[in-house]
């Protein structure tokens, strides 16, 4: 009984995921806007690296977008 409950609990998000995703996304020929540089998730890697360094050394949080690891004694 318990096992079945767990199975159902696991199945629900998978079903929602697969059916829900069917309406998401685009066909390859609809990527005109998505293929622009400014539409990439890390469009400005240099700015991001410089900002990460500043906020890593001035605040208690780091990472999230990428790795927040060590790297400098600035903290």
């Amino acid at each position: 009984m318990m096992y079945k409950k767990i199975q159902i609990t696991l199945l629900i998000p998978i079903l929602i995921g697969t059916t829900g995703c069917a309406s998401l996304g685009v066909e390859p020929w609809e990527r005109d806007l998505l293929s622009k540089k400014e539409m990439s998730l890390n469009a400005e890697p240099i700015d991001a690296a410089l900002d990460d360094h500043i906020y890593f050394s001035k605040e208690a949080s780091s990472g999230g977008k990428g790795f927040g690891g060590g790297g400098c004694g600035c903290n």
Binding site: K36, G68, C74
Partner: protein
């Protein structure tokens, strides 16, 4: 003439079609003005950043990045970072209505702080060189792997790191799952050595014959190290033609020397007067976790990039970060293709459970304590603007100017006597200026 135009259009259409079929939305080839394939060529980014706090630290940082994309979508990225830092940093002690004297971290000499001023140690200066190498390549259709190395060297600090990542595309490359791992090993050799936790700062005549021996008694060694292991899981989903989303979960484990050897705490009496200054002490491990969500939306011409991060750790610090940029193309109204990009970032964090702005002489010593405002309660915001323009041959030149303000806040500590009349949580204001040239 007509023939030539047709030819260009076909070439441009083919470039767009190729990148569309490859689903390489992270690559820059699809610039509508570009008609040549950029494979097998180097792309360079160079940037200089100037960071300056009012009355405190100033830093200059230069980055040179070289990226080569090979025929079969293999990408090599090499990055050199050099920075130099100088200026004053809060030493952790509280302001007093009287002159205060502190010993420099090296033990050589002392400095005085005027009544009412936040104690700043003005001997900070450091130069850092960092090298990063990253190799990315497709393993099989829809599978991309990446691996990298990191080395960073300062006068008193060495950091070595490796990372690996795998990304799997599915549903016509509309969804991407990625899993990454990174490991850093850092060694800290601070000037003056590693202070003994909670030892009293030695203050007196540094020319006295017994000074060196007495100073050495406040030290437990010359170096210490820490390791950082990170796991990063990500999911990226194309929502529609205009919208893209990313969700990350990260788990980070830091172990080793996490104390700041330059930071002290004031031990005050019931009237708030400093009786002693002791070196801080932090736990030797920290486990951080965060969730991160980012969304990009392409309006008719502008692009909005918004992200949110929630971080929590076993030091009881939690934080919220909202970061947003709006890229507004200006067309070629200034004779060249250009854009403006306003930036707004808002940050809020709660204090670590061992954060204390000062210690009371009458209380027993806690297991750990730090008065470093960077692990105290704080809000911060950044506002900025970036102006970028395409110059000859598709090279890009951009300028960024930002204002950053940190506002530390009182997490509910009672301020005895004279501490009510001094500034315990001073704000920090900084200017960030950057020039970037990509070619």
């Amino acid at each position: 003439m007509k023939n030539k135009i047709d030819k260009t259009n076909i070439k441009a259409a083919l470039t767009i079609a190729t990148t569309a079929l490859l689903g390489t939305n992270n690559l820059a080839q699809a610039e509508s003005t570009s008609t040549s394939a950029e494979e097998n060529t180097w792309e360079f980014d160079s940037a200089f950043l100037f960071y300056s706090e009012v009355d405190r630290v100033s830093a200059g940082e230069a980055i040179f990045n070289a990226k080569k994309t090979f025929d079969n979508e293999e990408v090599l990225n090499l990055k050199l970072t050099i920075d130099a830092l100088t200026g004053a940093s809060a030493n952790g002690a509280v302001a007093q209505p009287t002159v205060q004297t502190f010993t420099r971290p090296s033990g050589n000499g002392q400095y005085e702080i005027a009544p009412g001023d936040t104690p700043l140690d003005d001997t900070f200066h450091d130069t850092r060189v960092q090298l990063n190498g990253q190799w990315t390549q497709p393993l099989a259709p829809d599978y991309t792997a990446s691996g990298g190395v990191h080395i960073s060297k300062e006068y008193d600090y060495l950091s070595l790191g490796v990372n690996g990542n795998i990304a799997i595309d599915f549903d016509r490359k509309n969804s991407t799952f990625s899993a990454g791992f990174s490991y850093f090993q850092d060694t800290f050799t601070p000037e003056g050595g590693i202070p003994k936790p909670f030892a009293s700062m030695l203050i007196g005549d540094s020319n006295d014959p017994s000074w060196d021996d007495d100073f050495a008694k406040t030290r437990i060694g010359s170096e210490d190290d820490k390791s950082t292991a990170d796991i990063l899981l990500g999911f990226t989903q194309v929502i529609n033609r205009r919208m893209l989303m990313q969700f990350n979960y990260s788990y980070s484990m830091v172990e080793g020397y996490l104390t700041d050897p330059f930071k002290i705490l004031s031990v005050v009496d019931n009237d708030g007067a400093a009786q002693d200054y002791i070196y801080e002490s932090r736990p030797d491990s920290r486990t951080k976790q965060s969730i991160y969500a980012q969304s990009l939306y392409h309006f008719d011409t502008t692009v909005l990039d918004v992200s949110y991060r929630y971080m929590w750790d076993d030091w009881e610090i939690t934080s919220h970060t909202i970061d947003s940029r709006l890229r507004i193309p200006l067309g070629d109204s200034f004779g060249t293709e250009s854009y403006l990009q306003p930036h707004l970032r808002v940050y809020q964090q709660s204090a670590a459970d061992f954060y204390r702005p000062f210690l009371l002489e009458s209380d027993p010593l806690p297991a750990f304590a730090s008065a470093d405002y960077r692990i105290g309660e704080m809000t911060a915001f950044t506002v900025g603007i970036k102006y970028g323009m395409l110059v000859n041959n598709g090279h890009e030149l951009s300028f960024r100017l930002e204002y950053y303000r940190q506002t530390p806040t009182d997490a509910g500590f009672n301020e005895p006597g004279i501490l009510k009349d001094v500034e315990l949580y001073p704000t920090v204001d900084a200017i960030i200026a950057q020039v970037t040239y990509s070619f």
